[in-house]
Symmetry: C2
Subunit: 182 residues, 2 copies
């Protein structure tokens, strides 16, 4: 069956912001926390926009909204730490997504790399990156970064992977895997 | 517990590509198929890098590797259609991820919008976008695009959401949701 060209679109010329939000509410994403310190204190932000773009060289991207309290630091930092979370890291994911709290109040929870960046303890994996490109996109900045150094605490298959979807958190595992016929 | 600064990193100076791939194999992603036609025939590509970056204006990003057969068209297209897939769209997700096949051979499966872009039928949702920015990142291009027009066939909660993780497909639903205590 083909979609008739006359089917009613949601918007025209530019999609409305509410329609756009509804579209992406239905699009699941892996969960990361990005940290940095550009010289005036650590910041952290939970992001579902982290994606690998190239393995050689090892590059990733993520986006930061100017609406985020961490934005002003993240857009000028030369290096960042991207924490790739699993379901055991849910409390950190929620911390980085909560407004108006000091995300570094619990000093047992984080430390600094010898290069100075703040890093949270016990996460599935983290990767320290050098920012290599920035692109303005509306009220956000898309940041490309080169992976310099990483530490993996848990394999992908160990705990359940963590996904954010439709304003809920989900855990992946054997219970969610789709078995392919043929 | 804090991570000792002397803990062993996987790499130094630049992370190796194998280590980087392993890191992101463990990072789940929503699944999309991006189509375009820059004047010399339709192309399609399955991508897990699609993310919303701004709701007002409605902007999204995705990345395209030069290794993809669709790359040369996608990086010069003025408009693209981003299909946001759910588990009912698994066969399309696999089609757009399979090398060496004609992704438009089945003419019952797709049509063209009145503006010319190829669009697959029966997907959860699609959004037609105008490309507004491109950023080179290694052998890939990160593309920012403004949402112009969308059609939603199924709500986020209807079928199960589709996630790619650790070389497997997963379906989200009540069975995968994490219940939060307080």
């Amino acid at each position: 069956m083909s979609i008739p060209a006359t089917s009613e679109p949601i918007g025209f010329a530019s999609l409305g912001s509410d329609e756009f939000k509804a579209l992406f509410r239905g699009h699941p994403g892996g969960v990361a926390v990005v940290t940095a310190d550009a010289g005036d204190g650590p910041v952290a932000l939970t992001a579902t926009s982290v994606a690998s773009v190239s393995a050689s060289p090892p590059l990733l991207v993520f986006s930061v909204s100017q609406l985020s309290s961490a934005s002003s630091v993240l857009v000028r930092a030369d290096t960042v730490v991207v924490h790739l979370l699993d379901a055991d890291d849910l409390s950190l994911a929620r911390l980085g997504a909560t407004s108006g709290v000091d995300r570094f109040a619990d000093t047992d929870r984080w430390s600094r790399l010898i290069t100075g960046e703040p890093v949270y303890a016990d996460v599935r994996a983290w990767v320290r990156c050098a920012v290599i490109g920035r692109m303005d996109a509306g009220g956000s900045t898309v940041i490309a970064a080169h992976a310099l150094q990483a530490q993996v605490t848990r394999d992908a298959a160990d705990g359940g992977a963590l996904v954010y979807h439709d304003r809920s958190w989900h855990r992946l595992g054997a219970h969610s895997r789709i078995e392919l016929s043929a």
